[in-house]
Amino acid sequence: MKSVVGQGEILSVVILVGVVLVIGTALTALVVPQVMRISEENNLKSLLHTEQSNLVLYREYENSTHIFLGVLRVEPGNTRYAIAILSQDLSIDAIQSAQPNIQRLVSFPQSSSSMTTYSVRRSNVFYIFGGDYYPLPSPPRQDYINVVYVPEDIVKNYVSQGRPFVVAVNKAVLNALGVEKARIIFLVQVSDKFYEVGEWAL
């Protein structure tokens, strides 16, 4: 009789521990993804804060046709910026409109490499408005925009050495494309998404 009582107690303890474990695992499964998501968001925010605070844009020279923007990464690093040139209301993509002669619109005078452009879904490009990130609006039949990558030799010789480089933008071409006021947006790529880290308004 005594042994039956002992077995019953052990059984109930095992059942209770099992129940606790199941509940604990379920709770962990619920909490861990949230923690991971929050942690990832924080890491992304941290990365973007770092890039935003490191980017300095300034007008280096301007004449009747061109503006030469100075671009400086304060702390030397290997960040490869992508550049989008959009109209003020973000509806017109000047780089896409300038195809196939993109060099006429934007160029890197210090680079001997050819430029690389990349077509990216508008919903994957995030611009800053009021301190928060928002995906680019997608006008009808314009799901993609083109971005131009800063050439590798510029990254190697300027960005990674903390030296300012120059981006030349042809204002006359912009006007010809119907973009009187442009936003030159500097982006960094994180996985398949692009985030604004600096902007120059023309």
Binding site: V13, V17, G24, V35, K45, Y58, E60, F68, Q110, P164
Partner: protein
Amino acid sequence: MRARILSKAQAEIIGGVLAIAVLLMAISTILYATFALMSSSSTNISKRAQFEVERNSERISVVYDANNYKCIVNNTGSVDITIVRQWTNGMFTEIKKDLNRGRGLNFSLSSAPDYIVTSRGNVFPVKSECQSQVANQAQVVNTVEQYISAIPIGAPFTSQNLVATTRITSDRACIVVGYRYETSSQDTPLALVYNKSKNTILRHQCKPESESTYGWSNYTPSSIQLPQGVNDISDIDSNMVKEIVVVSSTSPLAPMSFSGKGNVYVNMTFYNITYIPNITDTVAIYYKFVVYVPGGGVAQQVGLSASVSLKSLKDGSKFTSAGSVITAPSRSGVVAVVGWAAFPKFLYNFSEGFYSISVVLNMNIASSVTVSQVNLEYLAIVGGQILWPPKPS
């Protein structure tokens, strides 16, 4: 029964501990990530703020050194500067020049960049700053009205504006002299001498394309043939200011004389003598020739007039003004020809740059009359910087 209750409590405690551990782990992870973000943001902001402080501390001043014709860029800020680029005429050049606190960099006016760019992304204008100081030192007359109103006051130019004595004999001087009669289409080249002292005669015959001909050289003529009645060929009006003397290009030393054949033109071109800055409104050129027309106390019939031209070295454009001439003959036959010509930008539309100046003396000489000597005492430039440095004495 009592043992059973204790077992249930144990299980609840174990379960509770597990649940709390999971929650604590989650909360601590979130807190850690949040604090890490805050710390990272704070560090980034702090670094950027430090950078902006340094960036805003960059200061330069541009000073024009009129004695050495240099634009001096001084680092007057509290941080060392590295110049990484310079812009000239819309083109940039990569450079790397460290400009430590209190130090300076020299540029000649012609090679001074429009802008310099520092490694912290500051852009400083250089040439325009320098030019404005050049203009100030060149005593720019800013409007035609000021210019005209300045004339009656009596001092339209100062010592700084004068090309005479040590400046006219500068090592950078290049004066092309020639003459032609009205029947001739091109100039016959001449030379110049300057009687610096009793034993030192300087000679000058320049070709602009050959820099070795710039400046003056000591000259020992095989013989000296002075016009009758002239003791000192370099100060024939005896005002204690020496003149340069137009001579034939061949030895021996003899002032060039011109006899009555109608109009004779003596052309003196002062090559690359002035820099006219952008803000100049009116350039005024003053000159004084001294001409000797011997006649034994009898008046001789010689008409004297002059014209002045500015010629751009950039595009060759030429601007000519007749200006005004006053002649002052003396009983001894020495005639002072003093004149000026004004070039208001509003009329001539000249641009900033380096210019040569030509002064053409037109002598209408009656038959049987001879002009024995033509000297130039000074040239003065208002509104432009004189580029010829004085020759050290």
